[in-house]
């Protein structure tokens, strides 16, 4: 290979650089997993913790379509509760502290949902 040494060296440097996040986290301790405090006054969310952890964003999107575009405001959860499909009035009624609950995981995963540009978070939870 013409200039083989330089090419192989370049590829090696490139691989190291581009895989930096992977080997860095493997070698050095990463940021601690966030521990979210669950609310105390309600035992049951609109669905199981596993489902909510994986799909709460989809649940909220479905609620949004139902309330805004179809005018349907309440729903029956898989657990049998009738709830108002509202971020502010249902979800944040229990998960009232946005910083401790929502932001803890979102910041860890570098996710910035735009919900709170419009939807008002409960008083006392700083963003």
């Amino acid at each position: 290979m013409y200039d083989g040494g330089k090419i192989l060296a370049g590829i090696a440097i490139f691989l190291v650089a581009v895989l930096l996040p992977v080997w860095h986290n493997a070698v050095v301790a990463s940021a601690p997993r966030p521990e979210v405090k669950t609310p105390t006054h309600e035992k049951q969310c609109v669905d199981s913790a596993a489902v909510m952890r994986a799909s709460h964003m989809n649940v909220l999107n479905q609620w949004r379509e139902a309330v805004v575009r179809e005018g349907v405001r309440t729903t029956v959860t898989p657990t049998g509760m009738t709830v108002s499909m509202s971020l502010t009035r249902t979800c944040m009624n229990c998960h009232a502290n946005k910083k401790e609950f929502c932001d803890a995981c979102h910041n860890y995963l570098a996710v910035s949902p735009t919900c709170w540009e419009c939807h008002v978070e409960p008083k006392g939870s700083s963003s």
Binding site: G71, E117, C118, H119, V120
Partner: protein
């Protein structure tokens, strides 16, 4: 004679308005016309409104309930309901020799929730559309802020958020969202109150009882009764938009 009939009708209207709250929301079973649900509309008695000079209780109630901001720059104003000069609210009513009490005063204006809205026709993302019950609705998640609907509205009912509205909200009502910069907004007939059988915030706040909210699909509703017995004008009906806000003048 004329005075007697007019004052009788006015009193009948007043009494009817007093009962309006309970009768304004028939369920489908009760009073909806064959072929569907309610068809919401509003009636404004301009003479009653004019009795309270300088009153803005309807606008204050609406703007508070819906987190409508007060912008320092009038060019960026966001307003859902406000008062316009008679000539500007009703440009096709030549008003030279009419009653000056009326023509020199300000009329209450807001979205007409037209039956054939030109604004919903032009929206490229269906962020605004006409519901079956007549409410011309907004989806602030989908609006791309192109302002085509603002260009299409013949009544100037729509406002665009030129800047972030949050810093310009003195009191935030937490149960209703604010909007973000870059979307168009307007009166939504308090559609969040309708399922709770509550009248719109403006109707509730009006101390002169000048505003009536009702179901046109119910032939026995108060608003239908008043429309049958009194002559009401609408804004720019010749454009074919079928506006559903009626004004008793």
């Amino acid at each position: 004679m004329k005075a007697g009939r007019r004052s009788f009708l006015k009193n009948a209207g007043l009494g009817a308005l007093g009962l309006a709250a309970s009768k304004a929301f028939p369920t489908n079973a009760e009073g909806a016309a064959a072929g569907g649900g309610p068809r919401w509309a509003m009636l404004i008695d301009t003479r009653k409104c004019l009795q309270e000079k300088g009153c803005a209780k309807c606008a204050e109630a609406c703007h508070l309930a819906h987190n409508v901001p007060t912008l320092p720059n009038p060019r960026h104003a966001v307003k859902w309901i406000w008062k316009e000069n008679f000539r500007e609210a009703f440009p096709d009513q030549e008003a030279e020799y009419f009653d000056e009490v009326l023509t020199s005063s300000k009329m209450l204006v807001f979205c007409n929730h037209c039956d054939k809205p030109p604004c919903t026709r032009v929206c490229p993302t269906q962020a605004t559309w006409r519901r079956g019950d007549g409410v011309v609705m907004m989806d602030w998640h989908r609006c791309i802020g192109c302002r085509y609907c603002v260009a299409a509205c013949p009544y100037g009912s729509r406002s665009f958020n030129w800047v972030d509205p949050r810093p310009h909200l003195a009191n935030i009502t937490p149960t209703y969202p604010t909007r973000t910069r870059g979307v168009v907004e307007k009166c939504t007939f308090c559609e969040e109150r309708l399922p709770e059988h509550r009248p719109p915030a403006c109707v509730e706040a009006c101390e002169a009882r000048a505003m009536m909210f009702g179901d046109l699909a119910d032939p026995t509703s108060e608003i239908r009764e008043v429309l049958r017995t009194r002559f009401a004008v609408r804004r720019r009906p010749g454009l074919g938009t079928h506006p559903e806000i009626f004004y008793l003048v």
